[in-house]
């Protein structure tokens, strides 16, 4: 092999490695994270009454691990639901959130809830209970129970303060099939009650948490999970996606153009300088 050929081989290899690095960087950035529910914007109406609508597939599911509620009494050391899959969509006016989880039996007392913080103050995920060194805010809870077949809009700021709002903005519908619950919650993105309801603006991340109750009864006829005995998650993130913003690509294209221009002028100047 001649020296020239060898150099050419090295040149190609280095160029290839460089391009691979750029592509690898892009792939890492595109990978989905499991810590946030992202609600893409859809045209047309939201599938508020249909947990099985085809349009749900346009939202990527985020899966959250669930724990038995061990944080405060009455505790439970084992809960039925261990994972919750969440999808969400919005149409610019309303938001729809689909919870999906495995539950071996359909029971009248099966229930699920979504929790948000209200306003700017941070709220503890366990019913917005008081914190010693931080002034907390209330939580907004969207609740659904199989036998009630409706959504309930609630607030809490500490244990024992759970209350149903006078104005109900949340709708919910559940569908059970093949050992799996699918429950859809819908609400306008914003409401006229910012003191009680979480307000969702597109593009911004807000906190979200979940709870699920298996309404199965044990041998003595007692509910297996009820009240504080449930499966819970701590805070994760939710975002109603803003309409796509392509400005980053425009700026990048402009920068590429400028860099090429800079190279062109530099090389031209160098060539002129050499010929002189």
């Amino acid at each position: 092999m001649t020296r020239g050929m060898e150099q050419m081989k090295w040149g190609r290899a280095i160029t290839g490695i460089g391009i691979l690095c750029v592509l690898a960087g892009a792939t890492v950035c595109l990978a989905q994270e499991g810590i946030a529910v992202r609600a893409p914007m859809v045209k047309g109406s939201l599938p508020a009454d249909d947990p099985n609508a085809a349009v749900w597939s346009s939202a990527a599911p985020a899966t959250f691990p669930m724990s038995p509620q061990v944080h405060w009494p009455n505790r439970i050391l084992e809960a039925t639901v261990r994972d919750l899959s969440v999808r969400a969509l919005h149409d610019g006016t309303n938001v729809a959130i689909l919870l999906e989880y495995v539950d071996p039996s359909e029971d009248p007392d099966d229930a699920a809830a979504i929790e948000f913080m209200v306003g700017d103050k941070k709220a503890h995920f366990a019913h917005g209970q008081p914190m010693a060194q931080v002034e907390g805010g209330p939580v907004n809870i969207w609740y659904w129970k199989n036998k009630d077949a409706k959504g309930v809009d609630m607030n809490a700021k500490g244990f024992g303060t759970l209350s149903v709002q006078p104005h109900q903005d949340v709708k919910a519908k559940g569908a059970y099939a093949n050992g799996t619950w699918k429950v859809v919650f819908t609400r306008p993105l914003t409401t006229g009650h910012p003191e009680e309801d979480t307000q969702i603006t597109t593009g911004g991340f807000i906190n979200i948490a979940f709870a699920v109750w298996d309404g199965k009864k044990d041998a003595s006829g007692e509910l297996k999970e009820k009240g504080s005995q449930k499966a819970v998650s701590s805070w994760w993130y939710f975002r109603a996606e803003a309409p796509p913003d392509y400005s980053g690509y425009y700026y990048a294209a402009l920068a590429v153009g400028l860099a090429f221009g800079f190279q062109f002028i530099l090389i031209r100047k160098l060539k002129k300088g050499q010929s002189v």
Binding site: G4, Q7, M8, W10, G11, R12, I14, T15, G18, V22, G25, C29, E33, F64, M66, S67, P68, V70, H71, W72, L77, E78, M117, K122, A123, H124, F125, A126, P130, M131, A132, Q133, V134, G203, F205, V232, S233, S234, W235, Y237, R239, A242, D245, S247, G248, Y249, Y251, A252, A253, L254, A255, V256, A259, Q263, L266, I267, L270, K271, G273, Q274
Partner: protein
């Protein structure tokens, strides 16, 4: 070509190796942040450029090969590498620009302080319970009943109830948790729980119960002894 450029490249390589691999191993030293290494390499490069351009001859010897490479005159088979560099440079500039202007798709970064400062009244308290095999055993029993669902029977933070919580329950066998803390710190954390944390500890996320409403202080002190013993760690002391 290349002879006059080889020395600077080797020099930069040596400086990088020293900063990255030698400095952190000097006793009492620590790994340097990437930004600081970058700054030092920039200073080295500036120094090389100033040194190389001191005289007319050295300037030509230094810039000559770079100019020839960029203009592509008489560089033979390096032409391929030249095209690669000329193509890659604008792409990298574009990529950097995209990342600095595009709206972030990631949730807000959380700089949670894992071990924030305790309130004054909890610093320096010593365990009032005598450390005997009996009391340690009692502590382990309380631990098994109240703590192990999350912190795990093996003290590793992997209890059956841990999975849904973010931040995850502390792993006591990890040398960066209780081994770095005094017993009085654990007493505060167990007694006041997650909601007792200051703002930098993000109390709204913590699932740690406020055990003061359920357990007497004496039990908490015993749990602390059981925890250290079970996790094969010792509390930090000032000696």
């Amino acid at each position: 070509m290349g002879g006059s450029l080889l020395k600077p490249v080797i020099l930069i390589g040596i400086v990088y190796t020293i900063l990255k691999f030698v400095v952190p191993n000097i006793p009492g030293s620590a790994p340097l942040p990437a930004s600081l290494i970058f700054l030092y390499l920039m200073l080295t490069t500036s120094g090389i450029v100033i040194f190389a351009t001191l005289s007319g001859e050295s300037k030509d010897a230094f810039w000559g090969p770079i100019q020839r490479f960029l203009t592509g005159e008489n560089i033979g088979s390096l032409q391929v590498l030249r095209y690669g560099v000329l193509l890659l440079f604008p792409l990298i500039v574009g990529w950097q620009t995209y990342h600095s202007t595009a709206t972030s798709d990631a949730p807000p970064a959380e700089n949670r302080t894992i071990h924030p400062a305790p309130p004054g009244e909890y610093t320096g308290l010593s365990n009032p319970v005598a450390k005997t095999p009996d009391t340690i055993q009692q502590g382990k029993g309380f631990y098994a009943a109240f703590c192990s669902p999350c912190h795990g029977g093996k003290f590793d933070g992997k209890g059956p109830a841990a999975r849904g919580f973010n931040p995850p329950p502390a792993n006591f066998s990890d040398p960066t948790t209780i081994a770095m803390l005094q017993e009085s710190y654990l007493f505060w954390r167990i007694k006041k729980g997650g909601v007792g944390l200051p703002i930098e500890g993000m109390p709204w996320k913590s699932a740690m119960p406020r055990w003061e409403v359920e357990l007497p202080d004496e039990w908490i002190w015993k749990i602390i002894m059981g925890e250290y013993d079970g996790a094969h760690q010792s509390p930090r002391t000032w000696e």
